[in-house]
Symmetry: C2
Subunit: 214 residues, 2 copies
Amino acid sequence: MDTTQRTDQQRSADRRRRELLEAADRVVLRDGPGASMNAIAAEAGITKPILYRHFGDKGGLYAALAKRHTDALLGALRAALDAPAERRERVEATLDTYLAAIEARPQVYRFLMHPSEGGPQNEQGFDMGAYSFPLLRRMGEELADVIEERVDLGPNSQQLARVWGHGIVGMMHAAGDWWLGERPCARAELVQALADLLWGRLAAAGDKAGGPGF
Amino acid sequence: MDTTQRTDQQRSADRRRRELLEAADRVVLRDGPGASMNAIAAEAGITKPILYRHFGDKGGLYAALAKRHTDALLGALRAALDAPAERRERVEATLDTYLAAIEARPQVYRFLMHPSEGGPQNEQGFDMGAYSFPLLRRMGEELADVIEERVDLGPNSQQLARVWGHGIVGMMHAAGDWWLGERPCARAELVQALADLLWGRLAAAGDKAGGPGF
DNA sequence: CTCATGTGTTACTTGCGGTAACGGTAGCCT
DNA sequence: AGGCTACCGTTACCGCAAGTAACACATGAG
Protein backbone atom coordinates (compact mmCIF):
# COMPACT_ATOMS: atom_id res chain seq x y z
CA MET A 1 0.00 0.00 0.00
CA ASP A 2 1.79 3.02 -1.26
CA THR A 3 1.57 6.03 -3.47
CA THR A 4 -0.01 4.52 -6.58
CA GLN A 5 -2.94 3.00 -4.75
CA ARG A 6 -3.30 5.99 -2.58
CA THR A 7 -3.51 8.29 -5.54
CA ASP A 8 -6.07 6.10 -7.25
CA GLN A 9 -8.24 6.06 -4.20
CA GLN A 10 -7.75 9.72 -3.67
CA ARG A 11 -8.79 10.48 -7.21
CA SER A 12 -11.88 8.43 -6.75
CA ALA A 13 -12.61 10.09 -3.44
CA ASP A 14 -12.14 13.52 -4.98
CA ARG A 15 -14.54 12.74 -7.78
CA ARG A 16 -17.04 11.49 -5.28
CA ARG A 17 -16.58 14.62 -3.26
CA ARG A 18 -17.26 16.74 -6.30
CA GLU A 19 -20.41 14.79 -7.08
CA LEU A 20 -21.61 15.19 -3.53
CA LEU A 21 -20.95 18.90 -3.62
CA GLU A 22 -22.93 19.25 -6.82
CA ALA A 23 -25.83 17.36 -5.32
CA ALA A 24 -25.65 19.51 -2.21
CA ASP A 25 -25.59 22.57 -4.40
CA ARG A 26 -28.78 21.54 -6.16
CA VAL A 27 -30.57 20.85 -2.89
CA VAL A 28 -29.43 24.00 -1.18
CA LEU A 29 -30.41 26.11 -4.15
CA ARG A 30 -33.78 24.42 -4.26
CA ASP A 31 -34.66 24.11 -0.57
CA GLY A 32 -32.64 26.96 0.83
CA PRO A 33 -29.91 26.72 3.42
CA GLY A 34 -32.22 24.94 5.81
CA ALA A 35 -31.84 21.81 3.73
CA SER A 36 -31.29 18.77 5.89
CA MET A 37 -28.36 16.42 5.58
CA ASN A 38 -30.83 13.66 4.88
CA ALA A 39 -32.23 15.56 1.92
CA ILE A 40 -28.78 16.24 0.54
CA ALA A 41 -27.78 12.63 0.94
CA ALA A 42 -30.96 11.50 -0.77
CA GLU A 43 -30.32 13.84 -3.69
CA ALA A 44 -26.86 12.36 -4.02
CA GLY A 45 -28.35 8.89 -3.95
CA ILE A 46 -26.65 7.84 -0.72
CA THR A 47 -27.14 8.22 3.02
CA LYS A 48 -25.99 10.54 5.74
CA PRO A 49 -22.90 8.86 7.19
CA ILE A 50 -21.14 9.15 3.85
CA LEU A 51 -21.57 12.87 3.87
CA TYR A 52 -20.12 12.95 7.34
CA ARG A 53 -17.18 10.82 6.28
CA HIS A 54 -16.41 13.31 3.53
CA PHE A 55 -17.07 16.62 5.22
CA GLY A 56 -16.91 15.99 8.93
CA ASP A 57 -20.01 17.93 9.81
CA LYS A 58 -22.58 20.18 8.25
CA GLY A 59 -20.31 23.14 8.72
CA GLY A 60 -17.64 21.42 6.66
CA LEU A 61 -20.05 20.71 3.85
CA TYR A 62 -21.37 24.25 3.82
CA ALA A 63 -17.86 25.65 4.00
CA ALA A 64 -16.80 23.57 1.01
CA LEU A 65 -19.92 24.64 -0.83
CA ALA A 66 -19.34 28.27 -0.01
CA LYS A 67 -15.69 28.04 -1.04
CA ARG A 68 -16.63 26.96 -4.55
CA HIS A 69 -18.87 29.93 -5.16
CA THR A 70 -16.61 32.26 -3.29
CA ASP A 71 -13.64 31.30 -5.40
CA ALA A 72 -15.61 31.77 -8.58
CA LEU A 73 -16.79 35.21 -7.56
CA LEU A 74 -13.37 36.28 -6.40
CA GLY A 75 -11.92 35.19 -9.71
CA ALA A 76 -14.35 37.36 -11.62
CA LEU A 77 -13.69 40.30 -9.34
CA ARG A 78 -9.94 39.92 -9.73
CA ALA A 79 -10.34 40.00 -13.48
CA ALA A 80 -12.34 43.20 -13.35
CA LEU A 81 -9.85 44.69 -10.94
CA ASP A 82 -6.91 43.83 -13.18
CA ALA A 83 -8.31 45.12 -16.45
CA PRO A 84 -6.24 47.88 -18.04
CA ALA A 85 -8.21 51.07 -17.63
CA GLU A 86 -8.54 54.24 -15.62
CA ARG A 87 -9.15 53.90 -11.92
CA ARG A 88 -12.74 55.00 -12.00
CA GLU A 89 -13.48 52.65 -14.84
CA ARG A 90 -12.00 49.79 -12.89
CA VAL A 91 -13.99 50.63 -9.84
CA GLU A 92 -17.16 50.73 -11.86
CA ALA A 93 -16.31 47.47 -13.60
CA THR A 94 -15.66 45.78 -10.28
CA LEU A 95 -18.86 47.04 -8.74
CA ASP A 96 -20.76 45.97 -11.82
CA THR A 97 -19.19 42.54 -11.80
CA TYR A 98 -20.21 41.97 -8.23
CA LEU A 99 -23.71 43.26 -8.71
CA ALA A 100 -24.16 41.32 -11.92
CA ALA A 101 -23.13 38.16 -10.11
CA ILE A 102 -25.60 38.57 -7.29
CA GLU A 103 -28.28 39.63 -9.74
CA ALA A 104 -27.72 36.61 -11.96
CA ARG A 105 -27.82 34.06 -9.18
CA PRO A 106 -29.64 35.44 -6.18
CA GLN A 107 -30.10 31.97 -4.76
CA VAL A 108 -26.39 31.49 -4.53
CA TYR A 109 -25.99 34.94 -3.13
CA ARG A 110 -28.60 34.37 -0.47
CA PHE A 111 -26.92 31.16 0.50
CA LEU A 112 -23.55 32.83 0.84
CA MET A 113 -24.77 35.88 2.70
CA HIS A 114 -28.04 35.15 4.45
CA PRO A 115 -27.84 31.45 5.10
CA SER A 116 -31.08 31.41 6.98
CA GLU A 117 -34.39 32.05 5.30
CA GLY A 118 -34.63 30.24 2.04
CA GLY A 119 -37.13 27.63 1.05
CA PRO A 120 -40.89 27.85 1.29
CA GLN A 121 -41.21 26.58 4.81
CA ASN A 122 -38.06 27.51 6.61
CA GLU A 123 -37.98 26.72 10.27
CA GLN A 124 -35.11 26.05 12.59
CA GLY A 125 -32.33 26.91 10.24
CA PHE A 126 -28.68 26.52 10.92
CA ASP A 127 -25.92 28.46 12.54
CA MET A 128 -24.29 30.37 9.77
CA GLY A 129 -22.46 33.60 9.88
CA ALA A 130 -19.51 31.30 9.68
CA TYR A 131 -19.67 31.08 5.89
CA SER A 132 -20.82 34.46 4.74
CA PHE A 133 -18.24 36.50 6.54
CA PRO A 134 -15.28 34.65 5.18
CA LEU A 135 -16.39 35.85 1.77
CA LEU A 136 -16.63 39.46 2.83
CA ARG A 137 -13.34 39.25 4.67
CA ARG A 138 -11.57 37.70 1.75
CA MET A 139 -12.93 40.31 -0.62
CA GLY A 140 -11.91 43.05 1.77
CA GLU A 141 -8.38 41.73 2.11
CA GLU A 142 -7.94 41.30 -1.60
CA LEU A 143 -9.18 44.76 -2.33
CA ALA A 144 -6.89 46.11 0.36
CA ASP A 145 -3.94 44.45 -1.33
CA VAL A 146 -4.85 45.94 -4.67
CA ILE A 147 -5.29 49.39 -3.22
CA GLU A 148 -2.06 49.30 -1.33
CA GLU A 149 -0.23 48.02 -4.36
CA ARG A 150 -1.51 50.57 -6.80
CA VAL A 151 -2.59 53.72 -5.02
CA ASP A 152 -0.22 56.21 -3.51
CA LEU A 153 -1.55 56.96 -0.07
CA GLY A 154 1.51 58.39 1.60
CA PRO A 155 2.53 57.23 5.06
CA ASN A 156 0.44 54.65 6.84
CA SER A 157 -0.74 53.46 3.49
CA GLN A 158 -1.02 49.87 4.61
CA GLN A 159 -3.56 50.49 7.30
CA LEU A 160 -5.46 52.98 5.25
CA ALA A 161 -5.67 50.49 2.41
CA ARG A 162 -7.02 47.78 4.65
CA VAL A 163 -9.64 50.02 6.20
CA TRP A 164 -10.72 51.13 2.77
CA GLY A 165 -10.71 47.63 1.38
CA HIS A 166 -13.06 46.36 4.02
CA GLY A 167 -15.10 49.54 3.98
CA ILE A 168 -15.62 49.56 0.23
CA VAL A 169 -16.52 45.91 0.20
CA GLY A 170 -19.02 46.50 2.96
CA MET A 171 -20.51 49.41 1.08
CA MET A 172 -20.86 47.31 -2.04
CA HIS A 173 -22.34 44.44 -0.10
CA ALA A 174 -24.90 46.42 1.85
CA ALA A 175 -26.01 48.48 -1.12
CA GLY A 176 -26.21 45.35 -3.24
CA ASP A 177 -28.23 43.54 -0.64
CA TRP A 178 -30.70 46.36 -0.35
CA TRP A 179 -30.89 46.78 -4.11
CA LEU A 180 -31.45 43.09 -4.69
CA GLY A 181 -34.35 43.15 -2.28
CA GLU A 182 -36.10 46.25 -3.61
CA ARG A 183 -34.83 46.63 -7.16
CA PRO A 184 -35.38 50.35 -7.08
CA CYS A 185 -33.30 51.07 -10.15
CA ALA A 186 -31.22 49.58 -12.92
CA ARG A 187 -27.85 48.10 -12.12
CA ALA A 188 -25.97 50.75 -14.01
CA GLU A 189 -27.56 53.50 -11.97
CA LEU A 190 -26.55 51.81 -8.77
CA VAL A 191 -23.00 51.48 -10.01
CA GLN A 192 -22.90 55.17 -10.86
CA ALA A 193 -24.33 56.18 -7.50
CA LEU A 194 -21.78 54.14 -5.60
CA ALA A 195 -18.88 55.30 -7.71
CA ASP A 196 -20.02 58.88 -7.20
CA LEU A 197 -20.04 58.29 -3.49
CA LEU A 198 -16.50 56.95 -3.58
CA TRP A 199 -15.50 59.89 -5.72
CA GLY A 200 -16.35 62.32 -2.99
CA ARG A 201 -19.62 63.67 -4.27
CA LEU A 202 -20.95 63.64 -0.73
CA ALA A 203 -18.24 66.05 0.33
CA ALA A 204 -18.71 68.20 -2.77
CA ALA A 205 -22.48 68.54 -2.56
CA GLY A 206 -23.94 71.70 -1.10
CA ASP A 207 -26.34 71.95 1.79
CA LYS A 208 -30.02 72.06 1.15
CA ALA A 209 -31.82 75.21 2.13
CA GLY A 210 -33.01 75.21 5.70
CA GLY A 211 -30.04 74.53 7.92
CA PRO A 212 -26.54 73.14 8.17
CA GLY A 213 -25.98 70.10 6.02
CA PHE A 214 -25.34 66.54 7.00
CA MET B 1 -64.08 42.71 32.33
CA ASP B 2 -63.09 45.90 30.64
CA THR B 3 -60.48 48.59 30.38
CA THR B 4 -59.41 48.89 34.01
CA GLN B 5 -58.80 45.19 34.47
CA ARG B 6 -57.29 44.90 31.07
CA THR B 7 -54.86 47.68 31.75
CA ASP B 8 -53.88 46.23 35.09
CA GLN B 9 -53.23 42.88 33.53
CA GLN B 10 -51.45 44.43 30.64
CA ARG B 11 -49.19 46.37 32.93
CA SER B 12 -48.36 43.23 34.81
CA ALA B 13 -47.76 41.36 31.57
CA ASP B 14 -45.51 44.13 30.33
CA ARG B 15 -43.45 44.07 33.49
CA ARG B 16 -43.13 40.33 33.21
CA ARG B 17 -42.11 40.69 29.61
CA ARG B 18 -39.41 43.15 30.56
CA GLU B 19 -38.11 40.82 33.25
CA LEU B 20 -38.02 37.97 30.81
CA LEU B 21 -36.18 40.07 28.28
CA GLU B 22 -33.59 41.04 30.85
CA ALA B 23 -33.08 37.43 31.81
CA ALA B 24 -32.77 36.48 28.16
CA ASP B 25 -30.30 39.28 27.70
CA ARG B 26 -28.11 37.97 30.48
CA VAL B 27 -28.15 34.44 29.12
CA VAL B 28 -27.54 35.44 25.54
CA LEU B 29 -24.67 37.68 26.54
CA ARG B 30 -23.19 34.88 28.63
CA ASP B 31 -23.80 31.83 26.45
CA GLY B 32 -23.93 33.47 23.06
CA PRO B 33 -26.82 33.41 20.65
CA GLY B 34 -26.89 29.63 20.72
CA ALA B 35 -28.52 29.82 24.13
CA SER B 36 -31.44 27.45 24.40
CA MET B 37 -34.92 28.43 25.35
CA ASN B 38 -34.64 26.11 28.33
CA ALA B 39 -31.59 27.98 29.57
CA ILE B 40 -33.31 31.33 29.18
CA ALA B 41 -36.40 30.09 30.95
CA ALA B 42 -34.26 28.70 33.78
CA GLU B 43 -32.46 32.02 34.16
CA ALA B 44 -35.80 33.74 34.40
CA GLY B 45 -36.88 31.23 37.03
CA ILE B 46 -39.70 29.79 34.94
CA THR B 47 -40.20 27.25 32.18
CA LYS B 48 -40.39 27.20 28.43
CA PRO B 49 -44.09 27.49 27.67
CA ILE B 50 -44.23 30.86 29.37
CA LEU B 51 -41.60 32.20 27.06
CA TYR B 52 -43.62 30.93 24.15
CA ARG B 53 -46.78 32.52 25.49
CA HIS B 54 -45.00 35.85 25.63
CA PHE B 55 -42.95 35.81 22.45
CA GLY B 56 -44.53 33.24 20.19
CA ASP B 57 -41.33 31.58 19.14
CA LYS B 58 -37.60 31.97 19.47
CA GLY B 59 -37.58 34.37 16.59
CA GLY B 60 -40.00 36.60 18.43
CA LEU B 61 -37.87 36.60 21.55
CA TYR B 62 -34.72 37.38 19.64
CA ALA B 63 -36.47 40.03 17.64
CA ALA B 64 -37.68 41.71 20.82
CA LEU B 65 -34.21 41.44 22.29
CA ALA B 66 -32.64 42.87 19.17
CA LYS B 67 -35.16 45.67 19.04
CA ARG B 68 -34.14 46.91 22.48
CA HIS B 69 -30.51 47.23 21.58
CA THR B 70 -31.26 48.44 18.10
CA ASP B 71 -33.44 51.24 19.37
CA ALA B 72 -30.80 52.30 21.85
CA LEU B 73 -28.11 52.39 19.20
CA LEU B 74 -30.30 54.22 16.73
CA GLY B 75 -31.09 56.81 19.35
CA ALA B 76 -27.43 57.50 19.93
CA LEU B 77 -26.76 57.70 16.23
CA ARG B 78 -29.63 60.10 15.68
CA ALA B 79 -28.24 62.34 18.35
CA ALA B 80 -24.82 62.40 16.71
CA LEU B 81 -26.41 63.02 13.36
CA ASP B 82 -28.47 65.92 14.65
CA ALA B 83 -25.72 67.77 16.47
CA PRO B 84 -25.09 71.27 15.17
CA ALA B 85 -21.77 71.16 13.34
CA GLU B 86 -20.16 71.00 9.94
CA ARG B 87 -20.97 68.07 7.75
CA ARG B 88 -17.63 66.37 8.11
CA GLU B 89 -17.74 66.77 11.86
CA ARG B 90 -21.14 65.17 11.97
CA VAL B 91 -20.01 62.29 9.85
CA GLU B 92 -17.07 61.71 12.10
CA ALA B 93 -19.20 61.97 15.20
CA THR B 94 -21.66 59.46 13.83
CA LEU B 95 -18.98 57.01 12.83
CA ASP B 96 -17.36 57.41 16.20
CA THR B 97 -20.64 56.87 18.02
CA TYR B 98 -21.26 53.65 16.18
CA LEU B 99 -17.76 52.36 16.67
CA ALA B 100 -17.71 53.35 20.31
CA ALA B 101 -20.92 51.42 20.83
CA ILE B 102 -19.65 48.24 19.30
CA GLU B 103 -16.34 48.64 21.07
CA ALA B 104 -17.98 49.10 24.44
CA ARG B 105 -20.27 46.11 24.19
CA PRO B 106 -18.91 43.64 21.70
CA GLN B 107 -21.10 40.90 23.10
CA VAL B 108 -24.21 42.83 22.23
CA TYR B 109 -22.78 43.66 18.87
CA ARG B 110 -21.96 40.07 18.10
CA PHE B 111 -25.44 39.07 19.05
CA LEU B 112 -27.00 41.65 16.78
CA MET B 113 -24.75 41.00 13.83
CA HIS B 114 -23.29 37.51 13.95
CA PRO B 115 -25.91 35.59 15.84
CA SER B 116 -24.06 32.35 15.48
CA GLU B 117 -20.74 31.68 17.14
CA GLY B 118 -20.79 32.78 20.71
CA GLY B 119 -20.17 30.70 23.76
CA PRO B 120 -17.25 28.38 24.38
CA GLN B 121 -18.77 25.33 22.79
CA ASN B 122 -21.14 26.58 20.20
CA GLU B 123 -22.54 24.00 17.85
CA GLN B 124 -25.85 23.88 16.10
CA GLY B 125 -26.73 27.50 16.42
CA PHE B 126 -29.88 29.10 15.16
CA ASP B 127 -31.20 30.53 11.98
CA MET B 128 -30.50 34.20 12.25
CA GLY B 129 -29.85 36.71 9.58
CA ALA B 130 -33.38 37.67 10.40
CA TYR B 131 -32.33 39.93 13.28
CA SER B 132 -29.09 41.50 12.18
CA PHE B 133 -30.25 42.82 8.88
CA PRO B 134 -33.17 44.72 10.24
CA LEU B 135 -30.66 46.79 12.15
CA LEU B 136 -28.56 47.52 9.10
CA ARG B 137 -31.62 48.24 7.02
CA ARG B 138 -33.05 50.59 9.58
CA MET B 139 -29.77 52.44 9.91
CA GLY B 140 -29.52 52.68 6.14
CA GLU B 141 -33.02 54.06 5.79
CA GLU B 142 -32.55 56.59 8.54
CA LEU B 143 -29.31 57.80 7.11
CA ALA B 144 -30.91 58.03 3.69
CA ASP B 145 -33.63 60.24 5.12
CA VAL B 146 -31.09 62.51 6.74
CA ILE B 147 -29.05 62.79 3.57
CA GLU B 148 -32.01 63.50 1.39
CA GLU B 149 -33.30 66.05 3.82
CA ARG B 150 -30.08 67.96 4.20
CA VAL B 151 -27.85 67.49 1.21
CA ASP B 152 -28.50 69.03 -2.16
CA LEU B 153 -28.02 66.26 -4.68
CA GLY B 154 -29.83 67.65 -7.67
CA PRO B 155 -32.29 65.52 -9.59
CA ASN B 156 -32.86 61.94 -8.52
CA SER B 157 -31.79 62.92 -5.07
CA GLN B 158 -34.12 60.46 -3.41
CA GLN B 159 -32.63 57.39 -4.99
CA LEU B 160 -29.12 58.65 -4.65
CA ALA B 161 -29.69 59.29 -0.97
CA ARG B 162 -31.01 55.82 -0.36
CA VAL B 163 -28.14 54.17 -2.18
CA TRP B 164 -25.70 56.24 -0.20
CA GLY B 165 -27.48 55.63 3.06
CA HIS B 166 -27.26 51.90 2.73
CA GLY B 167 -23.80 52.05 1.23
CA ILE B 168 -22.34 54.20 3.98
CA VAL B 169 -23.93 52.09 6.68
CA GLY B 170 -22.51 48.99 5.06
CA MET B 171 -19.09 50.55 4.89
CA MET B 172 -19.23 51.48 8.54
CA HIS B 173 -20.47 48.07 9.50
CA ALA B 174 -17.93 46.05 7.55
CA ALA B 175 -15.01 48.22 8.58
CA GLY B 176 -16.17 48.13 12.17
CA ASP B 177 -16.55 44.39 12.14
CA TRP B 178 -13.08 43.88 10.78
CA TRP B 179 -11.61 46.43 13.16
CA LEU B 180 -13.32 44.88 16.16
CA GLY B 181 -11.82 41.53 15.28
CA GLU B 182 -8.27 42.65 14.66
CA ARG B 183 -7.97 45.92 16.52
CA PRO B 184 -5.26 47.16 14.17
CA CYS B 185 -5.48 50.77 15.26
CA ALA B 186 -7.16 53.24 17.57
CA ARG B 187 -10.76 54.14 17.02
CA ALA B 188 -9.97 57.69 16.06
CA GLU B 189 -7.69 56.54 13.28
CA LEU B 190 -10.38 54.35 11.87
CA VAL B 191 -12.84 57.21 11.96
CA GLN B 192 -10.39 59.40 10.10
CA ALA B 193 -9.68 56.77 7.49
CA LEU B 194 -13.35 56.20 6.79
CA ALA B 195 -14.16 59.88 6.68
CA ASP B 196 -11.26 60.38 4.29
CA LEU B 197 -12.67 57.67 2.08
CA LEU B 198 -16.05 59.35 2.05
CA TRP B 199 -14.38 62.65 1.32
CA GLY B 200 -13.02 61.39 -1.94
CA ARG B 201 -9.44 60.77 -1.01
CA LEU B 202 -9.48 57.62 -3.08
CA ALA B 203 -10.28 59.64 -6.17
CA ALA B 204 -7.73 62.28 -5.31
CA ALA B 205 -4.80 59.96 -4.61
CA GLY B 206 -2.19 59.46 -7.29
CA ASP B 207 -1.09 56.20 -8.81
CA LYS B 208 1.83 54.36 -7.37
CA ALA B 209 4.82 53.96 -9.63
CA GLY B 210 4.64 50.86 -11.80
CA GLY B 211 1.43 50.96 -13.74
CA PRO B 212 -2.05 52.37 -13.96
CA GLY B 213 -3.73 52.84 -10.63
CA PHE B 214 -6.68 51.04 -9.15
C1' DC C 1 -9.05 -19.09 1.79
C1' DT C 2 -8.56 -15.36 4.48
C1' DC C 3 -8.02 -10.96 5.76
C1' DA C 4 -7.60 -5.93 5.41
C1' DT C 5 -9.75 -1.87 3.55
C1' DG C 6 -13.04 1.14 1.74
C1' DT C 7 -18.06 1.81 0.77
C1' DG C 8 -22.44 1.56 2.08
C1' DT C 9 -26.32 0.56 5.16
C1' DT C 10 -29.72 0.57 9.32
C1' DA C 11 -30.73 1.97 13.65
C1' DC C 12 -29.71 4.67 17.43
C1' DT C 13 -28.70 8.74 20.74
C1' DT C 14 -28.96 13.46 22.02
C1' DG C 15 -30.69 17.83 22.14
C1' DC C 16 -33.32 21.35 20.35
C1' DG C 17 -37.83 24.12 19.19
C1' DG C 18 -42.45 23.85 19.96
C1' DT C 19 -47.06 22.14 22.00
C1' DA C 20 -50.89 19.74 24.46
C1' DA C 21 -52.93 18.77 28.48
C1' DC C 22 -53.32 19.36 33.05
C1' DG C 23 -53.14 22.09 38.00
C1' DG C 24 -53.55 25.81 41.01
C1' DT C 25 -55.24 30.60 42.29
C1' DA C 26 -57.21 35.05 42.00
C1' DG C 27 -61.18 37.72 41.47
C1' DC C 28 -66.20 38.38 39.85
C1' DC C 29 -71.18 37.13 39.73
C1' DT C 30 -75.51 35.62 41.68
C1' DA D 1 -70.46 31.19 50.69
C1' DG D 2 -70.01 28.58 46.38
C1' DG D 3 -69.09 28.28 41.69
C1' DC D 4 -67.27 30.21 37.12
C1' DT D 5 -63.87 32.21 34.27
C1' DA D 6 -59.27 33.57 33.17
C1' DC D 7 -54.76 33.49 33.77
C1' DC D 8 -49.96 31.82 35.39
C1' DG D 9 -47.49 27.94 35.78
C1' DT D 10 -46.14 23.08 35.42
C1' DT D 11 -44.93 18.24 33.48
C1' DA D 12 -44.67 15.43 29.84
C1' DC D 13 -44.64 14.82 25.32
C1' DC D 14 -43.93 15.22 19.78
C1' DG D 15 -41.21 15.94 15.68
C1' DC D 16 -37.09 16.64 13.61
C1' DA D 17 -32.37 17.31 12.55
C1' DA D 18 -27.34 16.60 13.62
C1' DG D 19 -24.25 13.31 14.45
C1' DT D 20 -22.59 8.28 15.59
C1' DA D 21 -22.08 3.24 16.43
C1' DA D 22 -22.30 -1.07 14.71
C1' DC D 23 -22.98 -3.96 11.28
C1' DA D 24 -22.81 -5.81 5.99
C1' DC D 25 -20.99 -6.26 1.43
C1' DA D 26 -17.42 -6.03 -2.02
C1' DT D 27 -12.78 -6.49 -3.77
C1' DG D 28 -7.99 -7.05 -4.27
C1' DA D 29 -3.44 -8.94 -1.86
C1' DG D 30 -0.90 -12.55 0.28
